[in-house]
């Protein structure tokens, strides 16, 4: 299948070694715990939505290089976006990982580097972990809930 260097690009390893947005928020409007049944990875994600926009985002948890760098890229990209916009990009990212959309730096920022994951189906869930947690947090928030559990 794919070459290993397309999976572990330098930019991915950089996010892995120095993840952006790690930590927690003082006043999250939603927080979500999500896990990857494949590998046991867990992410705890907190978000503060204000005036329909993502004002702050923080994450913690344990994971492999792919899930951690992917969540780090998400943290960098999502802050400042409107909720609808963020959901759109999450969906676009999902499509790219399934090989159904082209990498688009305007929409995904550094996360375009994760394109190569599409060739490693077992890792797609790693790359999606943080992004789907954000989606859940935003949906929870839309529904007015303060805390999403599953």
């Amino acid at each position: 299948m794919g070459s290993i260097d397309s999976l572990y690009q330098e930019i991915i390893l950089d996010h892995f070694r120095a993840p952006r947005g790690e930590g927690s928020l003082d006043a999250p409007t939603a927080s979500v715990d999500s896990n990857n049944p494949l590998c046991g990875d867990e992410v705890h994600l907190e978000v503060r939505v204000e005036d329909g926009k993502i004002a702050e985002l923080a994450h913690s948890g344990q994971g492999c290089s792919i899930s951690r760098s992917s969540t780090s890229m998400l943290a960098e990209e999502a802050v400042g976006l409107e909720v609808g916009e963020a959901l759109e990009r999450i969906e676009y990212f999902r499509l790219m990982l399934h090989g159904d959309a082209e990498p688009d730096e305007d929409r995904l920022g550094d996360a375009v580097a994760l394109e190569g994951v599409a060739k490693f189906p077992a890792r797609v869930k790693c790359a999606l972990l943080g992004w789907l947690a954000l989606k859940e947090a935003l949906m929870t928030n839309a529904e007015g809930g303060a805390n999403g559990h599953r």
């Binding site: 299948m1 049944p37 590998c39 490693f120 189906p121 077992a122 890792r123 599953r150």
Partner: protein, 411 residues
């Protein structure tokens, strides 16, 4: 392409076993309703799987596991395509029997109550009777049997009378393994839905022999089995509407069907995995894909046309046998190529034993349909059943062998 016996039964060469002899005679295999033979492509696919990419699926990161997972999941895709069903609605089981039991236990045991009714028919295979009896015994529900007409059709009036407010499930065989009857399951699904009951069809004998369109039929559940559709043993499929599966509690518990397991409880994986506990039939799914592809390459319309013609030939040729009773409908539009019969002077068991001497394999017994045997008023029948690899010549050998068996026993 014109359909004709010659066109299809030429594919016999694809089935290595059919070249063998029995008691020094060329094998004439007429027991495909019990299990079908397998084309070379199915055997090669499974063998290649074990020699090239065998690994456990879903949880492995390494190359071999990724390859195994993609070959395994391709089996699901191929079956879903064959019966026009959503992929995530296709659950692998060990056989059709487990598929029906899955519904009976996971849905039935948890939701049925005393007074609820399950409607089935007198022409069901034991696989679509006993699971409901077991569930009824546990829950206090009742199993009711729609009757079969003298010409081997489902009595639709009787069925309509049985379906009512207390009905929770209508479970019907799509094509009878004894009578060959093709039941009007789309209409039956409508009848079930009109009282908010589910409709399950036992498609074990239809999927291998005719076009079956899950979405168009409108049924809620469909049970199929690999070994009768040119595929391997050890695999069956339950097809269900995804929205029903989402609501259903799981059946077997174990690996792969969970998303989390804690000491105080567990969460379930996504469908269809929620219903697939433990290591699935991996090589078998690879074989099933090859079987589905083989059938789709021929085209299910052509398979059906061939077997319809063959059924016509069987009915005609076998009717010439003196004193024979043939069960099931004569109208070729509503029957497949499984023909059950009886003779007054020779027991089905002796027929099967004696025609075997002429190389002919037919089945004798109750065909796992004892209630139907009682309706027909016989303890057992003999049954000849065909598939794409059979030709009219096979039937000629059978008819001749029956004559010889008769003389032999009469002395």
């Amino acid at each position: 392409m014109p359909v004709g016996h010659a066109a299809l039964s030429a594919c016999k060469a694809d089935f290595p076993l059919l070249a063998r002899e029995v008691h020094g005679k060329p094998l004439v295999y007429l027991d495909s309703a019990a299990t079908s033979q397998k084309p070379e492509s199915v055997l090669d696919a499974m063998d290649a799987y074990y020699r090239e990419t065998n690994a456990n699926v879903h949880r492995g990161v390494y190359e071999l596991a990724a390859e195994a997972t993609s070959r395994f999941e391709a089996g699901r895709t191929a079956f879903a395509k064959l019966v026009n069903a959503p992929r995530e609605g296709c659950i692998f089981t060990k056989n059709a029997t487990e598929a029906i039991n899955l519904v009976a236990w996971a849905w039935g045991v948890r939701t049925l109550q005393a007074g609820d009714e399950i409607v089935i028919t007198e022409m069901e295979h034991h696989s679509n009777i006993v699971p409901w009896q077991l569930v009824a015994q546990i829950t206090g529900a009742t199993v009711r049997f729609a009757s079969v007409t003298a010409d081997g059709l489902l009595d639709m009036e009787d069925l309509a009378g049985l379906i009512g407010n207390r009905t929770r499930m209508v479970a019907v065989v799509h094509v009878s393994n004894v009578l060959g009857t093709i039941n009007p399951v789309a209409r039956i699904a409508e009848m079930a839905h009109s009282v908010d009951a589910y409709c399950l069809i036992d498609a074990t004998q239809s999927v291998p022999h005719m076009p079956v369109d899950f979405a168009a039929l409108g049924v809620d559940f469909l049970a199929g089995t690999g070994h009768k559709m040119l595929g391997p043993t050890g695999i069956g499929v339950l097809v269900a509407k995804p929205e029903i599966l989402e609501e259903m509690e799981p059946f077997l518990g174990g690996g792969e069907m969970i998303s989390d397991v804690r000491k105080d409880g567990s969460d379930w994986n996504e469908i269809p995995h929620k219903f697939e506990a433990g290591t699935p039939p991996i090589a078998e799914a690879v074989g099933l894909a090859a079987a589905a592809d083989y059938l789709m390459d021929i085209g299910m319309d052509r398979v059906r046309a061939h077997e319809r013609e063959l059924a016509g030939y069987m009915l005609e040729a076998m009717s010439e046998i003196p004193d024979i009773s043939i069960f099931g409908p004569r109208d070729l539009d509503v029957r497949g190529a499984a023909v059950s019969f009886a003779l007054p002077d020779i027991h089905p068991h002796d027929i099967a034993q004696l025609v075997d001497q002429h190389g002919v394999s037919v089945r004798a017994g109750h065909h796992c349909a004892k209630p139907l045997m009682r309706c027909l008023g016989v303890p057992a029948t003999a049954r000849a059943s065909a598939h794409i690899y059979n030709s009219p010549e096979d039937i000629d050998v059978l008819v001749e062998a029956i004559g010889a068996a008769r003389s032999y026993l009469a002395g």
